[in-house]
């Protein structure tokens, strides 16, 4: 990496930062007992249900788990295509 590379080591994450990020991700899933695979299934069904009522941008749908303190949240972000309702 060399002298100059080491000076800019900041750009490479430390193993501590990697550990913290991995922990936060794994704990969010552990706590709610929803693996990333299950969330994908959930997302597919959610898209199917919402699409019955309104046209949405399926590719833009985001479903994820987050947390603040020990409170977990499942959030779904669904882009709705303007002016086109099914009902």
């Amino acid at each position: 990496m060399g002298f100059l590379g080491s000076l800019f080591r900041q750009a490479q994450p430390t193993s501590r930062e990697i550990a913290k990020n991995r922990l936060q991700l794994v704990l969010v899933h552990d706590r709610v007992n929803l693996s990333p695979q299950i969330i994908q299934l959930l997302k597919d069904e959610l898209i199917a249900v919402i699409s019955k009522y309104v046209e949405i941008d399926e590719k833009g749908v985001e479903v994820g788990l987050s947390q603040s303190k020990r409170q977990s949240r499942l959030t779904a972000d669904i882009p709705v295509l303007a002016g086109r309702h099914r009902r």
Binding site: F3, S6, L7, R9, Q10, T14, S15, R16, E17, A19, K20, R22, L23, Q24, V26, L27, D30, R31, K69, R70
Partner: protein
């Protein structure tokens, strides 16, 4: 008023539960409190050997539970520390020899005569863990600053909250200043951030712990070790005193000068 019953647990094995119970109960007793330490790790007893009391065992917790002896007979009085007692685990039985109600009954019998009962939980989240937390007024969780033990600690936090024992408190054990400085170890703030529980104390990695276990003399009984000092602080906090947390290592400012200086030193 009766004793405060505190269970030390962790989920992960080998993070320092037994060391903590040995040192905290000794430190509390050295401060004049009447303390009983109970080894709830039936079948894999270790608290006796860490406390240096392994030659004094006649009766153990299972004898008490099964009525083979009176509670008084199983209490080993530490000859070096006036008000400190131990109830050892059985070595030749397993966790199914005791039920949660048995632990509650034993602790209820101890409450009038003591100030603190400290229970050394086994690792895991099965029967032994359930037995150990059943009688607790407070649960204290120990973790090390490593991914696997923090993950297990998180599971235990959830189980403790679900069992209505009140919010557990955290001890972070075996912190290594140099690794934290290099960015190779999670620091106190990281662990608290991730687990979101109250911090009871932190303990640095210290060779003195191995030496103290070799000798059967808990580190708090002698001066000169940082781990011993840390455990004494935690004991003081358990007694209600407000002691500031030890400095393991501050997060260094990522200045260019700092990085040049580090390169210079490592050349």
């Amino acid at each position: 008023m009766g004793a405060t019953v505190i269970t030390i647990t962790s989920g992960k094995g080998g993070v320092g539960k037994t060391t903590a119970v040995a040192n905290l109960s000794t430190a509390l007793a050295l401060s004049g409190k009447r303390v009983v330490a109970i080894d709830a790790d039936i079948g894999l007893r270790n608290l006796d050997v860490v406390m240096g009391l392994e030659n004094r065992i006649v009766y153990d917790l299972v004898h008490v539970v099964e009525g083979a002896c009176r509670l008084r007979q199983a209490l080993i009085k530490d000859k070096r520390v006036e008000t400190l007692y131990l109830i050892p685990a059985a070595q030749s039985r397993d966790k199914n020899a005791v039920r949660p109600q048995d632990m509650i009954d034993v602790c209820d019998q101890l409450r009038p005569d003591f100030d603190f009962v400290l229970i050394d939980s086994p690792a895991g989240i099965e029967q032994g863990f359930k037995n150990a937390i059943a009688p607790a007024d407070q649960v204290c969780i120990i973790t090390t600053p490593e991914v696997s033990s923090v993950r297990d600690a998180d599971r235990v936090v959830g189980l403790v909250e679900a069992s209505e024992k009140g919010p557990p408190r955290l001890i972070i054990n075996r912190l290594r200043a140099r690794m934290i400085e290099r960015g190779d170890m999670l620091d106190t703030a990281d662990v608290i951030d991730v687990l979101a529980v109250d911090l009871l104390g932190i303990v640095p990695e210290d060779e003195a712990i191995i030496i103290s276990t070799n000798r059967g003399v808990p580190a708090v009984m002698e001066d000169g070790s940082r781990a011993g000092e840390a455990f004494r602080h935690i004991a003081a906090r358990l007694m209600g005193q407000a002691i500031p947390f030890m400095t393991i290592q501050e997060r260094p400012a990522p200045s260019l000068f700092g990085r040049i200086a580090r390169l210079w030193r490592s050349a």
